[in-house]
């Protein structure tokens, strides 16, 4: 066998360069729209980001000025509500799927969760409208939180389950062989080992629902003022952006841009946080 170059070699080099070029170009095409969106937001929104935006309530209709502080705080409140409901159910459900149950039931549950993950989020809004808003005769933060939670649950369920399944069986066996009970093994060993992955799943779910608008349309409904009780309507950043964007007022358009920029930046930061968390010790799962 010769080690010298043959003419095949040149042709292979060309093919190689071509493949690299195509991959590179495709990558650019993917990143470009994202970059453009962010850039556009930055141009249109950065000008309206000021102290007022983060501290003032919306001005009366038609008047200039004001801010979105109630929407920002409202979004955070809704996230907290959704988290309180959705995180425990999602995580425990994921643990159940991974550790307990029978093969057939689990396959069914997984299928259902995957289906629910694909359901348009407005559907959840409608469901909660029928179940809660109509029954209690009013829009409320509870309803908004519940709708968001329902979106979160199948998401966290699946990510938790996958991450727990990734924990090597050797750790479970080692713990059980020490005479530690099953549930303690799951909580103190398995979940602890998978903790990074579980937290990542939760953060990503929070980032996802943070930007959901449709389910909040007929549950939280939005509020131009401070929300004083969770059984009252509450403002949320995406909702506010929607309301302002379709309005005829230029000032509100400006603020909508700013709001969108803040929202995207928030999601961006959460993802960076996730990256930082998953960078750590080598023995992490996910």
């Amino acid at each position: 066998m010769h080690l010298e170059r043959t003419h095949n070699h040149t042709w292979r080099k060309i093919k190689n360069a071509l493949a690299v070029g195509i991959a590179f170009t495709s990558g650019i095409f993917v990143i470009l729209p994202l970059g453009l969106v962010f850039f556009y937001l930055l141009i249109n929104g950065a000008g309206s980001i000021n102290w007022d935006f983060f501290t003032k309530l919306p001005a009366p209709v038609g008047a200039a000025g004001g801010g979105m502080v109630n929407a920002i705080v409202g979004s955070l409140e809704l996230l907290a509500l959704a988290g309180v409901i959705g995180i425990p159910i999602g995580v425990l459900g994921g643990v159940y799927l991974a550790e307990y149950g029978s093969a057939r039931i689990n396959a069914l549950l997984r299928f259902l969760a995957d289906v629910l993950n694909g359901v348009p989020s407005i559907t959840w809004g409608v469901v909660v409208y029928g179940l809660v808003v109509l029954r209690f005769k009013g829009f409320s933060a509870y309803a908004g939180g519940l709708a968001l939670a329902l979106i979160m649950i199948p998401l966290i369920l699946r990510t938790t389950e996958e991450v727990i399944l990734l924990v090597p069986n050797g750790y479970r066996e080692a713990s059980l062989a020490l005479g530690v009970s099953r549930w303690k093994t799951i909580v103190h060993i398995v979940m602890k080992t998978a903790s990074k992955g579980i937290i990542t799943g939760i953060l990503l779910a929070l980032a996802r629902i943070g930007g959901e608008t449709a389910p909040l349309l007929f549950t939280a409904f939005g509020n131009r003022f401070w929300n004083h009780s969770l059984s009252q309507p509450i403002a949320a950043l995406p909702l506010q952006i929607f309301t302002y964007a379709i309005s005829p007022y230029d000032d509100w358009h400006r603020q909508a841009w700013a709001g969108a920029l803040v929202l995207v930046t928030g999601v961006f930061c959460v993802n960076i946080l996730v990256r930082i968390l998953t960078r750590g010790r080598g023995a992490s799962v996910v």
Binding site: G170, E173, I189
Partner: protein
């Protein structure tokens, strides 16, 4: 009966030859009777009866798929973790039935510890936390007791001197052989009566293996040890009794010297001399 203290000279004076090895019946830790285990439809263990001697090392040898690991795991009910297992027969630990309906498997496993083929210190814990995790998760809170057991177990596992200044480092920062000794310390910390070892050295280099064999030798004065091994020279080196399994059946069981110099069964002889397997 001659005592070990009598010297050769005294024996010569009395004109008798040295006595044969004292044939005291060894105390029995496990009594296994007619054990059969099925995984679904497949029979993995076929009517095995044997007694495991106390304060001795019993080695289990045999070709792949002969049921050695299944048998070992049945001694501390770990085989029940596999779905669809069924067991018949009895296993007595110092006379108590391990499989009685009222018995909690977790309690069994506290008395019969296990060390696995691939060392598995918990990655989220430090060395110190790894050793005492069995105690802590079983409800022991007394810090002084935990520290005592920590040092005692690491000393017994011949690891104390190497790690005593590094107890805060992650368990996975040790070498392979050290990790395995850490797992042994972890098993010792809950003060079991028996230690089961499933091919403890197969993933280790010769020096680490030798250290663990030396450790097994020291441990057997206090514990009963049952070990599965593929390495017949190792079985010959460390064990007092050897059981040869084939296709789920116990073919032969006896003192290691007999099994390795003059086994009774032809299958045993063929396996250990490398004529099949």
């Amino acid at each position: 009966m001659e005592t070990p203290e009598q010297t050769v000279l005294e024996r010569l004076e009395r004109g008798t030859a040295p006595p044969p090895e004292a044939e005291l019946p060894p105390a029995r830790t496990f009594e296994v009777k007619n054990m059969s285990i099925w995984y679904g439809e497949k029979r993995a263990i076929d009517n095995v009866t044997l007694d495991v001697a106390a304060n001795a090392v019993t080695a289990i040898i045999g070709p792949s798929g002969c049921g050695k690991s299944t048998f070992l795991r049945a001694l501390n009910r770990m085989h029940e973790l596999t779905p669809k297992t069924r067991m018949e027969g009895t296993v007595l630990l110092h006379g108590e039935d391990l499989y009685a309906t009222a018995v909690d498997p977790a309690i069994v496993r506290r008395r019969v510890g296990m060390v696995f083929q691939k060392s598995n210190p918990f990655p989220t814990m430090t060395i110190g936390e790894n050793v005492v995790v069995g105690l802590r998760l079983n409800g022991v809170r007394n810090q002084r007791l935990l520290n005592e057991r920590l040092e005692k177990s690491l000393r017994m596992a011949a690891l104390w001197d190497e790690v005593k200044d590094d107890l805060h480092k992650p368990g996975t920062s040790l070498s392979g052989g050290q990790q395995q000794r850490l797992c042994i310390a972890r098993a010792l910390a809950v003060e079991p009566e028996v230690i089961l070892m499933d091919e403890p050295c197969s993933a280790l280099d010769p020096i680490a293996t030798a250290k663990i064999e030396e450790l097994i030798y020291e441990l057997k004065t206090k514990y009963t040890i049952v070990t599965v091994t593929h390495n017949m020279q190792q079985a010959g080196r460390i064990s007092d009794y050897t059981a040869f399994f084939y296709l789920g059946r116990l073919i032969e069981f006896g003192p290691t010297t007999k099994i390795f110099t003059n086994p009774s069964e032809k299958q045993t002889e063929d396996y250990i001399t490398g004529r099949f397997g």
